[in-house]
Symmetry: C2
Subunit: 155 residues, 2 copies
DNA sequence: TACAGTTGCTTGCGACCACAAGTATATCTC
DNA sequence: GAGATATACTTGTGGTCGCAAGCAACTGTA
């Protein structure tokens, strides 16, 4: 490894990554907030829950899955619970653990939001990349966190 | 284009993109703050200025180059000015315009921060990708904003 | 010159999120 | 089983940043 002098490729990729993320998320987030009153993190949380067994997850696992701290997930879920889209459930075997459960209303909210949000994402990506390139991106990104990926549709 | 049903590739790439960005920036940013008292945006601004002619840029152009709003760049530069790393300069021909100018102290600060920050970036990327893959990433990312890229070393 | 529209910048406000500290519960060690 | 440690979660605090509104300066039209 170099250490002292960063390769041109690494830095060029990193700067583009930062700029691309800032530009895309600002666009997508403001659209999502305007259309549905959800932030992108709200949406991602609803999506994770919708794809989890019994549509519920431990809060701590949910936090890790969307890269938020425990305090972050508490505040985020506060909002979703206030809207009735998520509920708490206790864990019989461990009183420390609280589950976040997607309600029917939350499922419906996600379904509505997905209609425009997926189209927004599609518009930003499909115009710039071929199917093959998207596959390459998905593979390379996947290495950043060793993430698993599921179907993209809610439900 | 699809519009209604998002392709698997698009969504898989997007979700990995979000997770990767969150994980990487949280790591790099906390390191940079702990080591040098700079946020990643602070660093990026200092770097842009260091590579600009006469080490100065119009504030509005600086904001666009790091994807911040005008209010965002005002607050950010407030901090850098308070530390003496950046100064304001007026534009002779247009009193609306203010330049942000990198001071010698700011240049030195950037040099010090770059030592550890570039190594941090290198560590995160070089371990996961080959040189060829980094080139691919840089090219694909570059299309997100049509950005131009300069040398990665400050000065 | 007068007036409308645009541009650059700042400020008030609110949202989001991380960190640190605190509480409650569980587990491990003796 | 008592005490130390670890885990899950919440809350107080502070920082960053976007949006809307406002101000100052420039430009265009007549």
């Amino acid at each position: 490894m170099s250490g002292q002098v960063l390769s041109y490729q690494v830095h060029a990729a990193w700067v583009s990554f930062l700029r691309g993320h800032a530009a895309l998320t600002r666009d997508l987030n403001s659209q999502l907030v305007a259309d549905h009153g959800l932030t992108m993190n709200d949406y991602e949380v609803l999506l994770r829950l919708s794809r989890a067994p019994d549509r519920q997850m431990k809060r701590i696992e949910l936090a890790q899955s969307v890269v938020l701290t425990p305090s972050g997930i508490t505040r985020l879920l506060d909002g979703l619970e206030a809207e009735g889209w998520v509920e708490k459930a206790s864990c019989p075997g461990d009183a420390r653990i609280t589950y976040a459960v997607l309600t029917d209303a939350g499922r419906e909210k996600l379904r509505q939001a997905a209609e425009t949000h997926l189209a927004d994402i599609d518009r930003l990506f499909s115009g710039r990349y071929s199917t093959e390139e998207l596959g390459t991106l998905a593979e390379l990104f996947g290495r950043l966190d060793g993430a698993e990926h599921g179907d993209c549709s809610p439900g």
